[in-house]
Amino acid sequence: MKIETKNLNLWYGTFQALKEVNVAFQEKRITAIIGPSGCGKSTLLRVFNRMNDLIEGVRTSGEVFIDGVNIIDHAADLVSLRKQVGMVFQRPNPFPLSVYENIVFGQRIHGAMSKGALDEVVQQSLESVLLWDELKDRLNESAMGLSLEQKQRLCIARLIAVQPDIVLMDEPCSTLDPQATQRIEELMRELKKNYTIIIVTHNMQQAARVSDDAGFMLLGELVEFAKTEDVFTKPKDKRTEDYITGKYG
C-alpha cells in the first residue's frame, strides 16, 4: 500500500469535513475520488501533502501512512513530504516567472544543481508532458503567456522535475476544453507507469475513463471504494448507485 488512512477525521473549526475515512491507495495506479460538491474530496486530497495545515483552525485525528510513515505526526518533515507528494491544482498556477524558471523551481529550492543538469531536467520534464517541441524556443518567455492547457502541463512538468512518487490532482481539467482534457488524460495514463496518481473529479465520465480504482464520498464519509469498473457497474451502496445514476446534483 502506498497510502493508507486509519480512522481519519478532520474538522474545520467545529465543522467535521472528514469522518472516519479508512482507505488504501495502491502504487502506480490512478485512483479517482468522486462525489458531490462539498463532500470533502479536496480536503481528503490535501491531507496527503498536509496543505490543510495552511488553513487556520484545522484539526485532524487518526493516522495516514505513506510508505509506512505516519505523516499526520507533528514531527513529519513537510518539505520532504511535499517533495514526495506533489499536487496539481484546479486552476493552473504557474509562477509569474519564465517557463524555464518554473520547471527548475523545485531544483532551486531543494538544492543546487549545475546549469547543465538543470537544462537536462527542463528538457526531460517538458518532454514527459509533451511540451518540449512547443516550448523549446520559448523557455525564457513568461509562463503567464501560455494557453491554459500549456499552463496545466507546465505545472505537471514542474512537479515531475522534483521526482515525486505520488501526484495529487484536484480537478485538473475543470478549466480545460474537451480536447485538452482528453490529452491531459492521455498524459495521466502515461504518468501512471511511474507515479501513483490520485485524482479528484466532478466528472464521472472522466473517472470512468482514466481511473483504475475509485472512491465515492458523501458528506465527509468514504461510502464506497473499489475497482472503478465495479464502482460504476455494481455499486454495493445504495447512495453510490443513486449518485452514479444521477440522483444527486
Binding site: 495552511l54 513537510l78 518539505v79 511535499r82 517533495k83 491544482f89 523551481f105
Partner: protein, 287 residues
C-alpha cells in the same frame, strides 16, 4: 432624453480631463518662461555644474551643482534606509505577523504617514540632530545624514503600504503552488511572492523616493542648509527644494536670482519626471 444626459455627462468628463491637461501645460509653460530666462545670464552647463551658489553677490554666481548633489545625497541616504526596511516591514505585515501585531503595525504606519512634515522636522531637530552630533562627534548635527534618516521616516509609510498591497494582490495560488512543491515559507516569499509583486514593489519604492525628493519643510529644518559641495553624509547640505523655499521670499521678482529659482524648479520637475518614467518602464517591462 437619456441619450442627451449621457452626452452631457460624457462631454463634462472629457472637459475635466482636458482641463487637467491644460493646467499642467500652463504650469509647465510658466515654469519654462520664468526659468529659462536665467540662461541669458548663465549657460546651462555652468548653471547645472557650477560649484558656487551665491545668488546675491555681485555678479551673482548661479551654480546649482551643490544643491543637486545635496538633494541626491539626502535622497540616496533616505532610500538606502527606507527601501530595505520598508520592504521587510511589508513582507512581515503581509506574510508573517499574527493578526493582532499586523493591525497594530498597520495602524502605527498610518499614523506615521499622518504626521505633518513640519512636525517630523521639528521632532528631528530636537532629538535626531543632537544624537547625530554626539554619536559622530561633529560640530553640528544638522547634516545630510540627519535629513536622510528623517526622510526615511516619511518614505516608509508610502513604501510599506504600497508594497504590502502588492504582496497581498499576489494570487494565493502562487503561494500554494510553491508550498506544495516543498518550498519553505521563506523560499516562497523570496522566490515567488517578491518576484510576483516586484512591479508593485518597484512602484512603491519610486513613489517613496518621489515623496523624498519633493519634501521641503523637514529637510530645510535639519540638513543645515549650507549650499556647499557635499563630501560626506556627515556634513550640512542644502537641497533643491529647500533652496526654493528659503529664498523665494527674498528674491526680487524679475531678478537673476528669481529666474534661477524657477530654473531649479525645472530641474526638480525633470528629476521627478525621470523617476516616474523609470517606474513606468519597469512596470511595463514586467507585463
Amino acid at each position: 432624453m437619456r441619450k442627451f444626459k449621457e452626452y452631457i455627462i460624457e462631454k463634462l468628463i472629457l472637459a475635466s480631463g482636458l482641463a487637467s491637461i491644460f493646467f499642467v501645460i500652463v504650469i509647465f509653460l510658466f515654469l519654462l518662461k520664468e526659468g529659462l530666462a536665467v540662461f541669458k545670464i548663465v549657460t546651462p552647463a555652468n548653471f547645472l555644474f557650477g560649484k558656487n551658489w551665491y545668488p546675491i553677490s555681485e555678479p551673482p554666481q548661479l551654480g546649482i551643482f551643490p544643491l543637486i548633489l545635496g538633494s541626491l545625497l539626502v535622497t540616496l541616504g533616505a532610500a538606502i534606509i527606507s527601501v530595505p526596511i520598508g520592504i521587510a516591514c511589508a513582507v512581515y505585515i503581509a506574510e508573517v505577523a499574527p493578526v493582532r501585531t499586523k493591525e497594530i503595525l498597520k495602524a502605527s504606519i498610518e499614523l506615521l504617514a499622518a504626521i505633518p512634515s513640519v512636525v517630523l522636522g521639528f521632532i528631528g531637530m530636537v532629538t535626531l540632530v543632537p544624537w547625530v552630533k554626539s554619536i559622530f562627534k561633529l560640530p553640528t548635527g544638522l547634516t545630510a545624514l540627519s535629513g536622510s534618516i528623517m526622510l526615511a521616516f516619511m518614505a516608509m509609510p508610502t513604501i510599506v503600504s504600497i508594497a504590502e498591497d502588492a504582496l497581498y494582490s499576489v494570487p494565493r495560488s502562487h503561494k500554494e503552488g510553491a508550498l506544495a512543491l516543498g518550498a519553505t515559507h521563506w523560499q516562497t516569499i523570496y522566490r515567488v511572492l517578491l518576484p510576483a509583486a516586484s512591479s508593485g514593489i518597484l512602484a512603491a519604492v519610486m513613489l517613496g523616493i518621489g515623496r523624498v525628493i519633493g519634501e521641503t519643510m523637514a529637510v530645510m529644518m535639519i540638513t543645515g542648509n549650507a549650499a556647499l559641495m557635499p563630501h560626506s553624509f556627515l556634513q550640512p547640505v542644502r537641497t533643491l527644494t529647500a533652496t526654493i523655499a528659503a529664498e523665494m521670499g527674498e528674491a526680487v521678482v524679475g531678478s537673476e536670482h528669481y529666474f534661477a529659482l524657477f530654473a531649479i524648479g525645472i530641474v526638480l520637475f525633470v528629476i521627478s519626471f525621470a523617476i516616474n518614467i523609470t517606474a513606468d518602464l519597469f512596470l511595463h517591462r514586467k507585463r
